[in-house]
Amino acid sequence: MGHKYSLHAVYFCTGCGIIEIPPALTARWDAERFGIIPAAAPRQANLFLITGYVSLKTLKPIIRTYEQMGEPKFTVAFGSCPINGGMYWDSYNTVKHLDRYLPIDGWIAGCMPRPEAIFTAITHLWGMIDRGEADGYRRYRRYYRQYRANQERVLGRLDWPPLRGED
């Protein structure tokens, strides 16, 4: 119960979709009534919103930030770009299938999704947490070798050590 009603989101402005988050936090579509507030640092957060396209340059900080979050943690991808490349489906620089590099618990389609869609997604996420289906972080640990291989294939040599197998 504690996890679903206290989702603190890492305030990582990933791509163009971040412009949709401040309206969701302010008075018109108040996200705080769901218990969602932006967290200052990844260690204090348990929700990661990937808002918009992910370029190769941004993929590194995204992975690093994701690994610094405490568990259990949930990832939600906004927009079409993380699903299949979206508007940038033929770009040399963006990531088309984010799910290969980072475990995603849910997607919100749209370019960009409206705040009502965001809140529908949150309630879906609550349902998934209740049923135990939001286990992206466990998947990450179980298949870390494969995830890391994918990351290294596209980013070259990574300058942080692999995750330790704890917890």
Partner: protein, 294 residues
């Protein structure tokens, strides 16, 4: 009986503090035409944090937060909360003042041990801000202690039971007003939120806190929220006969802080120090001078 009071008192303070935290978020939301989270949101946050994994940066890192929480809890054990304090008085208001400095020091110790420049900046800001509000705060406490001729908090409360609330006597009215002016700084609310600025320094000393550490830090913040108004009620509003009246008086004091918190932005450090060393200091100085020579 005493054991029950020793166990019950910090829990009461924690409950009150968490209620105040939730109330702060709710009032800030309502003033901003939002709905806001439920009042029990801080409790949910703490439960979630206790169940989340975290990392540690070494022995000093863990020790610091333990000290901070121990300091806050120890202060509560010596405060009269609408009845005699659980621990027999030792050292009076001066000991309470000194125990209150364990909390920022503990956070400073673990913030430094985190080896993150954000923490170091945050600690530096928090210590400067504390120094800044201590100037008028000490003048206020000295005025009250000189007026009643004792350093014992219990005796100050008792004198007011006989002679009327301190805030209604003219010299101490000035000190009371000064206390209300610096109360947001003591509690770390806007406009004096610079030490924990989320957007500027990634929450300062708390940047490397996750999971259980952040839960303890939130508990410590809740206890701090309780101590500030509780001291005001004891010093200026005559304490209370039972915890319920005490809490009602605290709520009356706290409402002003909540409204200021909802309305004001954050002051920069130089602006905050400049403000704290101007009007509240002058009013507190006037109060002390009035107590001495009137």
């Amino acid at each position: 009986m005493r054991i029950a009071a020793i166990v019950f008192s910090p829990l009461l303070a924690l409950a009150g503090g968490l209620f105040f935290l939730g109330l702060a978020r709710k009032v800030a939301a309502r003033v901003g035409w939002r709905c806001g989270p439920p009042l029990v949101q801080p409790v949910i946050d703490i439960i979630r944090l206790l169940n989340q994994s975290s990392v540690s940066h070494g022995g000093l890192f863990s020790l610091g937060i333990v000290f901070a929480l121990a300091g806050a809890a120890a202060v509560v054990l010596f405060l009269p909360l609408g009845g005699p304090p659980p621990f027999r008085e030792s050292g009076g208001l001066l000991a309470i003042l000194y125990l209150m400095l364990l909390a920022p020091l503990g956070i400073a110790l673990s913030g430094g041990a985190a080896a993150n420049p954000n923490s170091s900046i945050g600690v530096s800001r928090s210590l400067i801000l504390t120094l800044a509000y201590e100037l008028p705060f000490l003048l206020i406490l000295l005025a009250v202690m000189t007026r009643y001729g004792t350093i014992s908090l219990v005796k100050i409360v008792e004198s007011q039971a006989g002679g009327g609330w301190a805030i209604f006597s003219l010299p101490l009215l000035l000190s009371g007003i000064a206390y209300l002016l610096i109360l947001p700084a003591i509690l770390g609310f806007r406009p004096f939120e610079i030490a924990n600025a989320p957007q500027e320094i990634a929450s300062g000393a708390l940047v490397e806190y996750g999971g259980r550490f952040l839960a303890l830090a939130t508990i410590q913040q809740a206890l701090n929220l309780f101590i500030g108004p509780a001291l005001f009620v004891n010093l200026f509003l005559g304490g209370a006969g039972n915890p319920l009246f005490f809490f009602a008086k605290m709520l009356a004091v706290f409402t002003g802080v909540l409204l200021v918190n909802a309305a004001y932005p954050r002051l920069r450090l130089e602006q905050a120090v400049g403000y704290l060393w101007r009007w509240p200091t002058l009013i507190a100085l006037a109060g002390l001078a009035a107590v001495m020579w009137w």
